[in-house]
């Protein structure tokens, strides 16, 4: 029976020869990931349900990255990190990356890739909707809540309904003024925020395989913004080169059969697309940058699992080099690794960090920060009637803080060009 890549991975995880969309199956989870917002309630449910003798099903498969509310004076938020620390000590969880130590990594989805937890052909479940990011490595990755995570913590298992797959193919070459962010915003504009609900979003085509792992992760990261269960890109030589530097774990590469069945297929020519934004207040509210250019801004934000990777900052730096920003512009590297790279990677001999500092940007410490608003003292949080352009993933009312603010989602190129003028600006004007 012909199967898609998602169906093949789910069948393997469920110990079956084949699965069909709509079928309910129990998966054996390869990695469970949690963080400071959902970890503490997950642990609490696990203790309550499994009792005094609660056992972690496999300590090596549990990974904990505090990353959401880190650099804050909020006592409740800090208490959550204390709970994680205590749990990691009590149960000797080795894959815990504590705040305030050299092990601190920052945003979980990017840290999972950097630390070698993303392995093709495996199943990774996380207590965060953007867990779908890991699908860039040819694996099944999806987000769940605390109860499902607590169930996995004790049993290693989760039930899933096998999703139908949707296929998105980008032919041609990606022009220099576009990034993966533009591609996913195109898709969301076409399918809307529930167009992929309970479905797998499979990305394919030359323009996709030309992307770096950083950029591929931008595509799969926002599958959830279409309602998708998972986003997935088949592993290839680019994936294998990335893995080789980070892990020696064995893996199996899966790919969709040529005659696999899809719910629907979409085809784009990358050469014909132009820079786009998602206007307030929904990620599917697509428009071209040209149509909204000139919109006055009060803040620019480059960060998060979606838009705070090295490739995002390299793109932004290309435009910000030798320029000055007109409005407060926040640079929030997703991980401490990326923060380090800002100092070591340069363009024409000037480090990315110096390019941003010279341009007048504020560089913040690695965490989820204002992507999801966070506590009142979170760096870059929107206030009052802020008008923000951001490389993050959601612009629902209040997502970045103030309910009255307006957020435009865009590529790092578009955000950087807009920072230079203080108005929404097409990056083609600066490239």
């Amino acid at each position: 029976m012909a199967m898609t890549i998602t169906e093949k991975i789910l069948a393997k995880s469920a110990g079956k020869k084949a699965v069909r969309p709509g079928e309910n199956i129990w998966l054996n989870v390869d990695v469970l990931m949690t963080h400071d917002v959902c970890g503490p309630p997950t642990i609490q449910i696990w203790k309550k349900e499994f009792g005094e003798n609660a056992k972690i099903w496999d300590k090596n498969k549990l990974v904990i990255f505090p990353d959401h509310y880190i650099f804050t004076a909020d006592k409740h938020a800090n208490r959550n990190v204390d709970i994680l620390r205590q749990f990691a000590n009590e149960y000797s969880v080795e894959n815990y990356y504590d705040v305030g130590t050299e092990r601190y990594k920052g945003v979980c989805h990017i840290a999972l890739a950097e630390e070698g937890y993303n392995i093709p052909g495996t199943v990774l479940i996380g207590t965060d909707s953007h867990t779908c990011t890991s699908g860039a490595f040819g694996m099944f990755a999806t987000g769940v809540g605390n109860t499902d995570a607590a169930f996995i913590l004790g049993t290693g298992k989760i039930w899933e309904k096998v999703p139908e797959s949707m296929k998105f193919t980008f032919d041609g070459n990606l022009p220099s003024y576009l990034t993966a962010k533009d591609l996913i915003l195109y898709i969301l504009g076409d399918i809307t925020t529930d167009g992929a609900t309970y479905r797998a979003m499979e990305f394919d085509g030359q323009a996709v395989y030309d992307l770096s792992m950083d950029e591929r992760m931008t595509l799969t990261n926002m599958a959830i913004e279409g309602g998708g269960m998972n986003g997935i890109i088949k592993a290839d030589a680019v994936t294998e080169a990335y893995l080789k530097e980070r892990t020696n774990k064995k893996y199996e590469i899966f790919e969709s059969d040529a005659d696999a069945k899809y719910h629907s297929t979409y085809r784009y020519n990358a050469n014909e697309l132009e820079p786009v934004v998602a206007k307030p207040h929904s990620p599917d509210n697509r428009d071209t940058v040209r149509k909204v250019q000139g919109t006055k801004l009060t803040k620019c934000y480059i960060g998060s699992c979606t838009g705070g990777k090295l490739s995002d900052f390299v793109n932004a730096a290309k435009i910000l080099m030798g320029k000055e920003v007109k409005v407060p512009t926040f640079i929030v590297p997703a991980s401490t690794t990326v923060a380090g790279e800002l100092e070591t990677i340069d363009i024409s001999g000037i480090s990315l960090k110096d390019i941003f500092t010279n341009a007048g940007c504020e560089i913040a410490q690695s965490s989820c920060a204002a992507c999801l608003g966070g506590p009142a003292d979170t760096v870059g949080r929107s206030v009052d009637h802020d008008v923000v352009i951001s490389t993050t993933n959601r612009n629902f009312p209040g997502r970045m803080g103030s309910k009255k603010s307006e957020v435009y989602l865009a590529s790092p190129l578009t955000v950087a060009a807009s920072a230079v003028t203080g108005k929404i600006t097409d990056p083609r004007d600066y490239l």
Binding site: G126, S129, G143, V144, G145, T147, G154, K157, D194, T197
Partner: protein
């Protein structure tokens, strides 16, 4: 599981995301401490912009004053209810505020799972769009025997969808009770 749920309706629009259900800044309180967790009830649906809070017309907050319990126990939504983040705090907050059930045209996957697997609120799907028929404050009766919603004022009955394969988990009260019932865990 209660078979009949009677209560006042609270009506919302499409794409009610989890930041509207419980804004991210509140995700720091304990969910297990009885007293502290009431804050989730207090802030339930506090992220919904006022013009869209309590349709038609809006301007009717789900929670008033210092309360943590709402006068409404049945939420009527449109499509894609609960989209956005994976925060289980969202269905938990609605339950804490006294909501028993949600009736919407469709749900985002993680919110739906969380509601069912955690046994917080019943996420029912309606056959047709109801959020422009039912009004905030209407007395309604949810019947889980024949999967219908009745508007008390005129006895008008609206058909809902059968929950399908997840019914055993709903009836057990959540995924843990289901797993114990079926012998998967002890």
């Amino acid at each position: 599981m209660e078979k009949i749920i009677l209560g006042k309706a609270y009506v919302l629009g499409n794409n009610i995301d989890t930041d509207q259900i419980i804004p991210a800044e509140h995700l720091v309180y304990s969910l297990s401490d009885e007293e502290e967790s009431k804050k989730y009830g207090h802030f339930a649906l506090s992220g919904a912009p006022l013009p869209e809070a309590g349709l038609p017309g809006g301007g009717k907050p789900f929670i008033t004053g210092d309360n943590y319990l709402s006068e409404y126990s049945i939420i009527i939504g449109g499509s894609n209810f609960g989209c956005g983040s994976s925060r289980e705090h969202a269905p938990f907050a609605l339950q804490k505020a006294g909501a028993k059930a949600i009736i919407a045209e469709s749900y985002a996957r993680i919110f739906y799972r969380n509601s069912v697997d955690g046994g917080f609120v019943l996420p029912m799907e309606s056959e047709n769009k109801l959020n422009d028929i039912i009004k905030t404050g209407d007395e309604v009766e949810l019947n889980l025997t024949d999967y219908t919603l009745k508007r008390i004022a005129d006895n008008k009955v609206f058909q809902l969808k059968h929950p399908g394969d997840v019914l055993p988990i709903i009836e057990a009260g959540g995924v843990f009770d289901y797993a114990r019932k079926t012998g998967m865990i002890v």
